[in-house]
Symmetry: C2
Subunit: 249 residues, 2 copies
């Protein structure tokens, strides 16, 4: 009798601080993928390979990363989640495991993603958020930031807002929504789009910050869509303010 192969989808959170990003690498230890694959393989006593919705860079966090993996194991999925959590380091957590159709693929089936970038606009740092928010001390005109953010909406060539190597792959992406929330000194910029190029959220955020502090004019955004010159955009904000919040299928 052949065993039945189940396809499991899991939603997870991680603090990216001490990892070399998501993606397993030949010469770099301590990636999130590697740590999780090792734990699941040991727990299930199978050689498990996991597929994620996409990689996150070194230092970037996630509240809603989605993976899938196939297993012959028949354990109850909530029990499996608890056993995996017990064995994971406590900066990685499985929130939910669901059994899904065998065809579900956590990368190919992505419809869109939501990222949030968090900024603390204050001279006073917050000891409890220091690894989860980017402290930016310069004065900001939030209205300028909101106005400029609208120019990113829609379908554009974001090549100038990425730090990718030369590639033949398309650099055209669609941004559905950018929502800027203010709570006291904290600014959270939510980006919802069909996909994001390498460093794209961090460069868009750096550009919005430089527009809001008067260093750049908002019209640079449409110009960079045309000329694709990375150096005309804002700086790349650091990874520790960035969270992969949600993957939509």
């Amino acid at each position: 009798m052949s065993k039945i192969m189940k396809n499991l989808k899991a939603t997870l959170s991680y603090d990216g601080t001490r990892y070399n990003g998501w993606q397993r690498q030949k010469n770099s230890k301590n990636t999130i993928q590697e740590v999780i694959e090792k734990v699941i393989s040991e727990v299930l006593d199978e050689n498990i390979e996991i597929i994620a919705s996409g990689r996150t860079d070194a230092g970037v966090h996630a509240n809603g990363q989605v993976i899938n993996f196939k297993t012959e194991n028949n354990l109850n999925i909530d029990e499996l989640r608890d056993i995996i959590n017990t064995n994971l380091p406590n900066d990685i957590s499985f929130n939910k495991i669901e059994e899904v159709d065998n065809k579900f693929h956590s990368r190919y089936n992505v419809k869109s993603k939501v990222y949030v970038y968090k900024i603390l606009n204050s001279k006073i740092h917050d000891p409890f958020l220091r690894k989860y928010i980017y402290q930016y001390t310069k004065e900001l005109d939030i209205n300028k930031m909101i106005e400029a953010s609208k120019l990113f909406l829609g379908t554009h060539d974001f090549k100038g807002f990425s730090s990718g190597k030369k590639t033949k792959k398309s650099t055209i992406r669609t941004i559905y929504d950018i929502d800027i929330k203010i709570e006291g000194n904290e600014i959270s910029i939510f980006y919802h789009g069909d996909g994001f190029l390498y460093n794209m959220v961090r460069i868009m955020t750096g550009t919005l910050l430089e527009i809001a502090n008067g260093n750049l004019d908002k019209n640079c955004i449409t110009e960079i869509f045309d000329n694709q010159i990375r150096s005309e955009a804002g700086f790349t904000v650091p990874p520790h303010g960035l969270f992969l919040l949600k993957v939509i299928y």
Copy 2:
């Protein structure tokens, strides 16, 4: 002309994770007091001694610790705060500095203090809160916890709820209020009292947890007020869920 001595009161936050508690010690390095005194002394080029509202133990956090210190320096207090913050490690932060009456003493003048102890009642840990909340996986009857918390209110001998060494000092304290807030799986227990003995908040919290999970009966609280037997109370919860929230003068 003699210089004018100013008395400065400061409110500060710190992540206690990597420190050996507040109090400067002869044989133990890396206390919060030591780090702060070193920075202020360097910034002001004076030998500064700071007085805190009280010590916090190793691993305990603060959002509202209050200190005072005297200086001949005439720098603007907001500028002084910013310079101190720039020089402090980023797990300690000065929120505010005020000039106060020369007689103000941050320990002697304390009227009351508010601590909060945070519990995550879930099998799923939270990677972002792991150093700031105590994960407790057993099932809890919150109504039992709330009922029991009322027995702590008022003036009692809390000796059985402390792990202090034998002392002739009074172990009588008054608890004005205990407020239990629930947000999803997070339980925050706010303790407002005129003072707290060594480990008192952590043992009261452990006792409430054991009452809420059925391991202890709430009447043990009044019995321990009488018999002062530490071992009849609940366990000492770990320090990382505890925050000194406010000092009232």
